[in-house]
Homo-oligomer: 247 residues x 2
DNA sequence: CGCCATGTTGATTTCTATCAAATTGAGTGG
DNA sequence: CCACTCAATTTGATAGAAATCAACATGGCG
């Protein structure tokens, strides 16, 4: 990955020591996790001709709420936060996108949320018009996109329960269990380590809490020997404590 | 509507003074609001052969979380609450279904929420296997279902902001504005009246509040001359107050 | 080494939940 | 028609969880 891929339109010149599609969808590390699992080798070849790798550095904005959807993205490496903002600055993080996640599943004309890189990230990028035309010709891709959207809707409903009805402690436990499960699907993760590349403020905005409460609850969990805080994340000490509390 | 429709499989013998598909999709009052808008007259005829009108009385359960999805529903009259429950009894109402809304959009194997009739209701019912087979042959129906699912996802994200970041007063204002907008799409509504057929507890469980807080906030709004409480709903007195507060 | 963003900890306030009681109102049967 | 019942709602008093306000600590990086 020292040589930028052919179709690359780098947003930045950040180091390329990141997994990505490279130049061949057949060897893509996130293919089996992503929308592309719906495609056969032949269709993959067609799609590949429309793809370009985009690299974003930490804090870069992939797109903003209200922006026209000119491209859709398939995350291959890194983490993004998805944000809705209120006019007075209050934020709700509606989700974190991990490798394999697709941004633009809805095929709407404008983005309904802002996406920012939490870590350096790589995404397989398609022009919306191309991608939509391709999907128009491949009904099973639409079906797969619908499956992914349904799964997202399901997660959104889970999150409503969390936001509406859980205590701060339950929210944190649920979040950590969720991140543990989601990282387990991503190749190359260290089992046992729950990576938390996002800051405390992002976690707070995801859980409908303040940064102080997030900090207090996590540190209390550490004092109670439920977990240990490590660089870039946490490790569970008492898994059953989390299983009992989590949604 | 005094004579039950041909394919009817009534859950109850409740009065039929309710709008419904009747026996002909072409005259269905919610067609233009529903998934069926994707279909031409010919396709509508095919779909009609698979449809049956179901009638549910107040409080009836359409289906429960975890149940197998044996039928999907297109609501033609009445209101349903969609509920996720925690083991200890805490509830989150994830949404209210109004005429034109489709239940089963995701085509998953099991329901992820419980649906209960808030009012007597009528739904156009399809066996899941039939509906799925039909959609398999009609890619534009899948596309339309995907559009509807995307719209629901969008509403779910709005609701996350509400649950995570709004105050009780803002939550109520947003809810009332949302209901006003949604009823405006349904034929036969009285403009100006915001119908609230659901009880205070349902509203509380939708907004992540308690029944007491919902009651207090609405009654305070009435004392402040922002709205008046009327049988079966409210009327706005100061629309701009709500526009300013709502999400 | 020191700077600045990020995170932690402490003190206090506030909003909403909880607990408790009164009120309303729809449905029932005398 | 009117008392009665029971559920739903409203109102009041108090408690409590998390927010806010305010330092302080940490740690990555020039």
């Amino acid at each position: 990955m020292d040589i930028p891929p052919r179709h690359s339109d780098h947003e930045t010149h950040a180091s390329c020591a990141l997994r990505s599609r490279g130049d061949d969808c057949r060897f893509c590390g996130v293919r089996h996790l992503s929308i592309c699992q719906a495609l056969n080798i032949n269709e993959l070849d067609q799609l590949e001709k429309m793809a370009s790798d985009s690299v974003f550095e930490e804090r870069a904005v992939l797109f903003r709420e209200e922006d026209e959807v000119s491209s859709v993205f398939n995350l291959t490496a890194g983490v993004a936060r998805l944000i809705r903002s209120l006019p007075d600055g209050r934020r709700q993080v509606t989700g974190f996108a991990l490798p394999g996640d697709f941004l633009g599943i809805s095929l709407e004309k404008t983005w309904r949320y802002t996406a920012e890189a939490v870590t350096p990230l790589v995404a397989c990028r398609f022009r919306r018009s191309n991608f939509e035309a391709f999907s128009e010709k491949n009904p099973h891709l639409i079906k797969k996109m619908h499956e992914f959207a349904s799964q997202e809707l399901n997660m959104a409903q889970d999150h409503m329960v969390l936001l509406g009805r859980l205590t701060a402690e339950e929210k944190l436990a649920s979040f950590l269990v969720e991140m543990k499960k989601r990282w387990a699907r991503v190749a190359g993760h260290e089992p046992g380590l729950i990576r938390l590349p996002m800051g405390r403020q992002d976690i707070a905005d995801y859980l409908g809490l303040t940064i102080e409460t997030v900090s207090r609850v996590i540190n209390q969990m550490q004092r109670d020997r439920k977990l240990v805080i490590v660089p870039d994340g946490v490790r569970f000490v008492d898994q059953s404590y989390f299983d009992d509390l989590a949604l």
